[in-house]
Each structure stands twice: as structure tokens, then as C-alpha cells.
Symmetry: C2
Subunit: 188 residues, 2 copies
DNA sequence: GTTGACCTTTACGTTAACGGCAAGGTTGTG
DNA sequence: CACAACCTTGCCGTTAACGTAAAGGTCAAC
């Protein structure tokens, strides 16, 4: 029992996983998992969204689980939240500061300073949340509007099915009232 | 009572609002209200997101309230939901079909056909909602994650304020469990 | 120790979503 | 009618976010 097996699946290039080591992965491997190209990842590093990755002896970029998490976070901000890379940079700058704060926290004993650090970090996180919530709220507004149209159509349809003529067709344009309060979650 | 007044405010260029007419506005006017440049609006028309606008005798683009609504919708999809103009094109194609369906609906008497049309329209709206909800759900996930961090920090802070040392610092990395279930909506 | 898949940097190309300018036409007002 | 402030259609420029190709180095496996 020395080599054999798993070479059939992994091809001619794979980092050696010894014992309980940090588990470092190469760029394309990580990219494939996250749905990012190697170029995109390098670009993010170039923009400073990631710290310069660790390197192998031959200068290959190597990523650990934390790096992958950060990349996943970036991809989330981009795809899910629709932030630009510049905006993401802001949000991550806050994150970087949080990391630095953790260090500062550990290297001081002064309770007042510690409190200040945590308070600062808390503020950053809260602003991050605020930023996300704002987007969500506006998105929610659009969903509600669409749901209003949906409910109107459903009503219309049930009237048709009842064999009667459609209602006066109120033409509920540019409405801002809270439609569909009781019907919430009726779909699917 | 013939002219006078309102020329002091409106400057040397404004469409004449007679009686109860449709109220048509020029491109920059509309753009200013929506936070869009004239160029952007023309570009949207060029991409087919808007139907070619009505024109004045001198070929000026003229927009009515519906056009403005549609533009507001587009801007919402872009800024709030973060969709690309191409994606917006898809969503609006569905909307265009809905409009055509309204016409088809009015020009037929066959109840079966009418039902089919409404059903089709309903399907489109539901897909639109689905699309928005998907984005919202992922965004909500990110918010929850951030709220988890926030709550952790708050706890930490209150411990500091109590004069004690911080808790073991659980290092809750890459967590996927539903943090902060009971603490929901504690902020603001 | 040679291969083949992967990596490196460098650099130019591409697409989306407009910005900006030129050259000229239109409109409401004085 | 003259004027300022808008508008029109080109058309080229720009920024973001990568794609892609070149020229070469690395790495695990055979």
C-alpha cells in the first residue's frame, strides 16, 4: 500500500494531502467549485479584494478554506446582491479592519481600548447589514408590486372560471398600498 | 387670462399642457426625475427595453406617464435588484407579452381562449416573482450571516461591559445553521 | 526524465453601459 | 425674429470586469 488508486480520477496534477495539513488548493480547483474562472480570481487579488494568496515553491497560488470562504462571500455580494467590485471593496475594507481589530484586541489589556475596538467592529458590521437590508427592502418592494399584479390576475382567472364576465378592470396603476396581506405565501 | 406666470419657473422650453391632455414630457425632464441621463434613456430604447418613444413634430422624444413608470421599473431592476440590462430585457419581454395578451383578451369572446391568455400572463408574472424572490432569498442569507456576527459582537460587548473576560471565542466559521432565531429584529 | 495538465506574468481584446462631443435642428420666450 | 436651451443623430471614448493568447515555468505521475 504505497501509491495506486485516486490517480485515475485526479489526473496528473494534485497537491499532496499529508496527514492533517491545512489543505491547500490551486486556483482552477477553487474556481471550479465557486463558479469563478482563474482569471477572475487573479483579478480580484489584483484589485485588492483578496490578500495575495500563499504561493507554492514554484509560485503557484494556493488557497486555504478561509480564502475560499472569502471568495464565496465576494461572489455572493456580486451575484446575489449585485454589488460592483468597487462597492465590494468597501465592504471588505471594513472586514479587513475587523480582522485588524481582532489582532489589536488580543495585543492590548486596557478594557477601555478593548471596548472601543469591539464597538468599532460592531459599527462596521451594522453598516454592512444596513447596506444589505436597504437592497433587500427595495427588492421586496418590487416583489410586492408583482404580487399585487399576480393576485389581481388570479382573481380575474377565478372569475373567468366562474363563467362570469371580468370585473370592471380597476386598472390599479402605480399603486403603493400593501396589497396581498392575507394571501401571503399562497403560491408554490 | 392668456399667458403670464409659470414662465418664471419653467425656463424657455416646456411643452404646452392644454386642458386634460396626456401630459407629455421631454427626455431630460423625465431623466432628471428618475435619476437617469438622457443618454441612458436613449440607450434603453436602442436596446429595445422601451418602445420607440412618441415624437413631437420636430422629432423630440415625448414620454407619457406610462413610459415614465416603465423607466422607473427598469431603473428599479437595475439599481435595486442588480439585474443586467440583458436580464431586464427578458423580464420586460414577458411584460410586453402581457400587454399583447391584454389586447388579445379584449379582441376575443371565446371563454377558453380568454382563460388561456390569463393563465399565460399569470405564469409570466409568477416567473418574474420567482426571479425576484430568488435574489431576495440569497440576499437574506447574507443578511442573516452578518446578523449572526453582529449578535456575537453584541454579546461580546456586553460581557466586556460587565467587566469580565470574553467568552472562549467559539470562532463560528463557515456556519450554515440558523443563527439568531429568537433575536430576530432586535436591531434598529 | 519526460510528459501533459496546470500554473505564471504580460499584454492586448471584448462586452456592457453608458459619457461626451460635433454638427445641426426645434421650441418657447422676449 | 432672434436667442437660449433644449433636442436630434452619429460616432468615438471610457470604465468595469473580465477573456484570451503568448511565452515560458511547475508538478505529479508514469
Amino acid at each position: 500500500m504505497s501509491h495506486s488508486a485516486r490517480s485515475a480520477l485526479t489526473g496528473p496534477a494534485a497537491p499532496v494531502p499529508t496527514e492533517a495539513e491545512p489543505r491547500l488548493r490551486r486556483i482552477q480547483d477553487v474556481g471550479a467549485e465557486l463558479g469563478l474562472t482563474a482569471r477572475a480570481i487573479r483579478y480580484y487579488e489584483e484589485l485588492g479584494l483578496l490578500a495575495p494568496a500563499a504561493r507554492s515553491e514554484g509560485a503557484y497560488r494556493l488557497y486555504d478554506a478561509d480564502d475560499v470562504e472569502r471568495l464565496r462571500f465576494i461572489k455572493g455580494l456580486r451575484d446575489d446582491a449585485g454589488f460592483s467590485l468597487t462597492e465590494i471593496g468597501q465592504l471588505l475594507e471594513d472586514e479587513a479592519m475587523r480582522a485588524r481589530n481582532r489582532d489589536r484586541f488580543r495585543t492590548t489589556e486596557d478594557p477601555a481600548e478593548r471596548r472601543a475596538i469591539v464597538t468599532d467592529t460592531l459599527g462596521r458590521v451594522e453598516r454592512q447589514i444596513e447596506s444589505l437590508r436597504e437592497k433587500m427592502a427595495r427588492l421586496a418592494g418590487m416583489v410586492e408590486e408583482a404580487e399585487g399584479r399576480r393576485d389581481h390576475l388570479r382573481l380575474h382567472l377565478s372569475e373567468l372560471d366562474a363563467g362570469r364576465e371580468p370585473a370592471p378592470h380597476v386598472h390599479t396603476r402605480s399603486g403603493s398600498r400593501p396589497v396581498a396581506a392575507t394571501l401571503d405565501e399562497t403560491g408554490q
